[in-house]
């Protein structure tokens, strides 16, 4: 193979910043996803507090109209793309290889490239605050409001380029994980012996692979409309604003399943462990997940019932939207049946999962309500929809993610998150969440529209807005408690055993935290819940057989390509000459990547 590249000799450093920048280890990449996800989650949460403070009283004057519009748009963008998705990615980066008995993902350097491209897209999007042009037209940016005539500055260019970079990162990560799950399962782990979490991630990866290209076309069309005077969405020039809505929501609906399915996977791992019994209806939950994946592409126009769709499309999309409620219902019944007859231990992890069950069900019910177009014409774009969104996303995805943090923290970092603080955190979140978002159902029914920075006094909305604002402060406090628990754990001595919860899945067979090569010997799987199978048939697997384990060397080319893409993105915002520079950097880095020796 070719000699090492003249640029720099890569010596084996496994500490310090350089090891993080060049890591290809799925565990380190998972930690980086988790840290950036939590940081952006906190920033977006702060934006939410500002929104709630402005809406606490009628005709509030704390925040002016433009800033408010930027706040609610960036709150949504950062929560969805920079908060919940990366935290989901943290879990599947950490856990999928461990759960299927692989030493790493199929393409480790491609995995590093995905993270760095995600980070560059995230920084580019968030930097729009600094350059005074944060997008201010709502996270789904309906045309023609995004056209040059109705926006000032480059807010929508930040939106388009930022999401393009995030799209590249998510697509490449999904490709990587689909190949990993298909090809790198441990011997004996057939498709129906995989943990439910891995199934959910498999579905999430397919949803992203098949939906992101459609969003990419929409974003390119916005970018061309704004910078090259095309008329894709400009009705004056023959374009059609609904084309953007269709393209966005064909991506949009699979996207919301991408946000919830990892948490459904986490809950499907946490509930059986703390009910001390296997998941109920494994194949039912898996087929429910797969049917959600297929149906997810057939429901997108339920976001467009009020745009003047004819009777036939309204009925068709209403039927498909209601049909997608059935598998979700089946999952909820199966989780309940998992807890039935169990011996449920209540700690932070299990309480967050039970909280997920209750709150996600409320979100599901309110969702099915506006699957029916007559009701949707009354509820669309009111606070009823905001309530539905937050019950499924905050009550669903975020509760699932925090359940995962408390459950896998000993495995990730060898230390427990403090149980006492965890309980306080749960109750602050549970009560705060209901105080904030349940009154929004009432505000929606009272006709309060979405995305208004002020409202008049005599409409009957004052009490519920104050209640919601108080509730949101509780959520802020809850987050502080969580951060204190994380800090306390960071300071404590690593004392976590291999399998503190006596859980069934393979990641608990490794030490806490697992060695860099994950498994000393690749495990052989004989049944669905491998560790419980070994425990019940008292089989002890030999652990210390150490043969030469080949680990891919660290590489800085993934980071280099991501920087190239970031420079390309910056060029798209300034002058295309800089983009050319970015493309050159990308080509150089690909050339280095291909010639880099992997053994």
């Amino acid at each position: 193979m070719t000699t090492a590249l003249p640029l720099a000799v890569k010596e084996e450093t496994n500490s310090g910043i350089w090891s993080w920048l060049t890591t290809v280890d799925h565990k380190k990449i998972g930690t980086m996803y988790g840290v950036s996800g939590v940081v952006f989650f906190i920033i977006a949460g702060f934006e939410a507090l500002l929104i709630r403070t402005q809406l606490a009283v009628p005709n509030g004057t704390i925040i002016d109209a433009d800033t408010y519009n930027q706040l609610f748009t960036m709150h949504a963008l950062m929560m969805i793309f920079l908060g919940v998705m990366p935290m989901g990615a943290a879990f599947f980066n950490w856990l999928v290889p461990l759960m299927i008995g692989a030493r790493d993902v199929a393409f480790p350097r491609l995995n590093a490239f995905s993270f760095w491209t995600f980070l560059s897209g995230a920084l580019l999007l968030t930097s729009s605050w600094i350059f005074g042009d944060a997008p201010d037209v709502g996270w789904f940016a309906y045309a023609p409001l995004t056209e040059k005539a109705y926006t000032v500055g480059q807010a929508m260019d930040f939106y388009a380029v930022g999401l393009l970079l995030l799209g590249v990162a998510s697509t490449v990560a999904s490709l990587n994980f689909v190949v990993t799950i298909i090809n790198m399962r441990a011997p004996g782990m057939s498709w129906f012996r995989m943990p439910v979490f891995v199934w959910m991630i498999f579905v999430v990866a397919w949803l992203l692979i098949l939906s992101l290209p459609v969003l990419t076309i929409g974003l390119v069309q916005i970018y061309f409309d704004r910078n090259f005077d095309t008329n894709f969405f400009n009705p004056m020039g023959g374009g059609d604003p609904l084309l953007w809505q269709h393209l966005f929501w064909i991506f949009g609906h699979p996207e919301v399943y991408v946000l919830i399915l990892p948490s459904m996977g986490i809950v499907s791992e946490v509930l059986p462990t703390f009910s001390r019994k296997p998941i109920f209806g494994y194949s039912a939950i898996v087929f429910a997940g797969l049917s959600i994946a297929v149906l997810g592409f057939a429901v997108w126009s339920h976001h467009m019932f009020t745009t003047g769709l004819g009777p036939v499309p309204s009925i068709v999309f209403s039927a498909s939207t209601m049909a997608i409620g059935v598998p979700t219902g089946v999952k909820i019944f199966n989780w309940l049946a998992t807890m039935w007859g169990g011996s449920i231990r209540f700690n932070s992890a299990s309480m967050f999962s039970i909280g997920f069950l209750a709150l996600f069900t409320i979100g599901g019910i309110s969702g099915v309500m506006h699957a029916s177009p007559p009701i949707d014409t009354q509820q669309q774009d009111t606070y009823f929809i905001v309530a539905h969104i937050h019950y499924v996303l905050f009550g669903g995805a975020v509760f699932g993610i925090f359940s995962g943090f408390y459950y896998w923290w000993p495995k990730f970092f060898g230390r427990f998150l403090d149980e006492k603080l965890g309980q306080i955190h749960f109750w602050l979140f549970f009560i705060g969440m209901n105080l904030t978002f349940f009154p929004m159902h009432f505000l929606g029914v009272q006709g309060m529209p979405r995305r208004i920075y002020r409202y008049d006094a005599d409409l009957g909305w004052e009490t519920w807005n104050i209640v919601a604002t108080l509730g949101s402060y509780l959520l802020g406090v809850g987050m502080l408690v969580f951060l204190y628990a994380v800090w306390k754990a960071y300071k404590s001595e690593p004392d976590a055993p291999d399998n503190p919860w006596d859980a069934p899945t393979l990641e608990w067979a490794t030490s806490s935290p697992p060695p860099e090569h994950d498994f000393d010997v690749v495990p052989v799987v004989e049944a669905r819940d491998p560790l419980w199978y070994d425990r019940d048939n008292n089989i002890t697997r030999e652990k210390t057989k150490d043969e030469h384990i080949h680990l891919p060397p660290p590489s800085y080319y993934p980071l280099l390509i991501s920087i190239g893409l970031l420079v390309g993105g910056i060029g798209m915002l300034t002058t295309l000459m800089i983009s050319a520079l970015g493309v050159l950097l990308v080509f150089y880095a690909i050339w280095g990547w291909v010639l880099e020796p992997t053994s």
Binding site: V179, V214, D240
Partner: protein
């Protein structure tokens, strides 16, 4: 690329990655072609894709079917050349592989020249990207297809360059050329769909 891990399904991970990427690209071109087909109906200012009379005045259509079918034939032959190059690589007939690889690259570049000529001709006829919906969606679709062909040519050239330096078949060369071949054939079938829907379909 990464080392050859044992794969449960027997499919090489890199080939599986290429096929799933092509699945994703299917949706990419699906959305592009949808945009074109949506705007196909209402192009309301000249120049038009096909000959038509608009309130009494005759407008000459831009789309040149014989020329484009020639370029389609070129891309089709490049697919055949690609297949033979892969055949040569897999039967480690180095001379045959290099020969057909060079002709694939040549045909690919020839196709790109056809595209460049067509774009200049359209621009000359007054069809800018912002002139009308035909211009916008046509340039976006064929432009992205052209970019895919360009990237394909770059990949093939770098593979060719790889074989010259080592004047013998590396262990993976056959595999790399086969995977590049998959990408190349995909770009060809996308053009088959575009050729039929854009050029041959009546307006």
């Amino acid at each position: 690329m990464s080392e050859q891990a044992h794969s449960v399904t027997g499919i090489d991970s890199r080939k599986l990655l290429m096929w799933i990427f092509l699945a994703s690209d299917c949706l990419f071109f699906g959305a592009l072609i949808s945009t074109y087909m949506i705007f196909k109906g209402n192009i309301n200012n000249p120049p038009y894709p096909t000959d038509r009379i608009v309130n009494g005045e005759f407008f000459h259509g831009l789309l040149n079917i014989p020329l484009t079918s020639a370029s389609t034939f070129v891309l089709l032959m490049s697919s055949v050349a690609m297949v033979l190059a892969v055949y040569g690589a897999q039967n480690n007939n180095l001379k045959m592989m290099k020969g057909w690889l060079i002709s694939t690259i040549g045909l690919g570049i020839f196709f790109l020249l056809f595209q460049v000529y067509e774009f200049r001709h359209f621009l000359h006829e007054g069809l800018g990207i912002s002139t009308n919906q035909f211009g916008a969606s046509f340039y976006l679709m064929t432009g992205f297809h052209g970019v895919h062909v360009g990237i394909g040519v770059i990949i093939l050239i770098s593979l060719l360059f790889g074989t010259f330096r080592r004047n013998s078949l590396g262990p993976d060369t056959g595999f790399h050329i086969e995977t590049a071949g998959l990408y190349w054939h995909f770009v060809d079938i996308v053009w088959i769909v575009i050729f039929t829907l854009v050029y041959l379909m009546p307006y």
